[in-house]
Subunit: 216 residues, 2 copies
């Protein structure tokens, strides 16, 4: 029934050049893909629109070549201009209900939700998936607020029909619990992009997700 | 032949709350409209997308009520979401050629041009009008670079078919010269939004533009 292209949230890597130890996003993403990343979100806060657009264009090319889902944080116009697979909107970005009507129906709309009420509201507004968290406590800038825990995530997963991805403080050691609690995938920033062995770090997440699923 | 809604660039007022002496954009715009502003551009650089969206929504309502053209700076997604009449793109924003294909054909695309080569390029890319300048030297942040002068503006006006609006350092005293040089209107920031008598300041520009046209 869905017009959406299939997408795989299993290992969802979010960029942040401030945390990438001097590596470019191209390098970070290629290494993450080599380790099994299934979805890449471009998120950079300190660029002009023109710079963000050019970075998005380069990463769109790269993710297409590798068959990986490509999502742009915040900027729906940039996502439309580079034909990204989707856009992810947080609480400081366009409201989901304002964004959905100006998006092609097949385009993926991800929205950040912190509780069941928001989750139901964003599902109703046309979200394709929800980023749910913070699951655990985290130091990554922009992921603030009290952690909702595995129970908070499970509550949301039970109430919505769309897939959810856990975000916030998730380590490879705890990724399995997040899947078992009802998430379709785990979203990570620093645990991957700051890792000296970025491919190895991503692979640990991919293994943990697979293992949790096979035990379900 | 054009799909575009008619628009009137004659007195084109650009917001900047940093320069508005503590007045809200709603107040600034109502006073500018009372003085004869024909086009309003929302330009604010220090807001989150969510804040920009809510401000744009309020100003869309207000400009519709008064039959004034409403343009959003930089954020095409916000412009689409609030159904603004158009978007204005500068050199740090989305490239015109990337924006036009994701815009409804009747939506206005304004682009900043500094010389004939850019002007022809942006016309070709589907610009509806050009913001040309800086015409004179200016202190307003964001309008940097050597002034192109009335001659630079006239050179561009002669070479393109789309209307142009002069911007940068234009006072009511010199607005007439800008029209005579070939512009369809004058764009102003501080000369209007910083004026203690904002309506009176706008009216001076409106009179100067009308007078220059009647003498053409």
């Amino acid at each position: 029934m869905s017009l959406l292209k299939p997408f795989d949230l299993s290992v969802y890597v979010i960029t942040d050049t401030r945390l990438s130890r001097g590596r470019t996003n191209q390098e970070v993403i290629l290494k993450a893909i080599a380790g099994g990343a299934t979805c890449i979100q471009l998120r950079e806060k300190d660029l002009s629109t023109r710079e963000y657009f050019h970075m998005a264009l380069a990463l769109r090319e790269l993710t297409l070549q590798h068959g990986v889902t490509f999502i742009i944080n915040d900027r729906l116009d940039v996502a439309l201009a580079v034909e990204a697979d989707g856009v992810h909107l947080g609480e400081d970005d366009l409201p989901a209900a304002a964004a959905r009507p100006i998006m092609p129906p097949e385009m993926i709309l991800g929205v950040t939700a912190r509780n069941v009420q928001q989750a139901l509201q964003f599902q109703e507004a046309g979200a394709s998936y929800l980023g749910v968290g913070s699951v655990f406590s985290t130091e990554t800038k922009g992921n603030t607020g009290k952690p909702i825990g595995l129970q908070g995530l499970a509550d949301i997963a039970r109430r919505v029909k769309i897939p959810i991805v856990g975000i916030g403080g998730i380590t490879a050691q705890r990724a399995g619990e997040v899947i078992t609690a009802g998430a379709s995938g785990v979203a990570v920033v620093s645990a991957v992009v700051s890792a000296p062995d970025l491919t190895g770090a991503t692979r640990e997440f991919a293994h943990a997700v697979s293992k949790a699923r096979s035990q379900a």
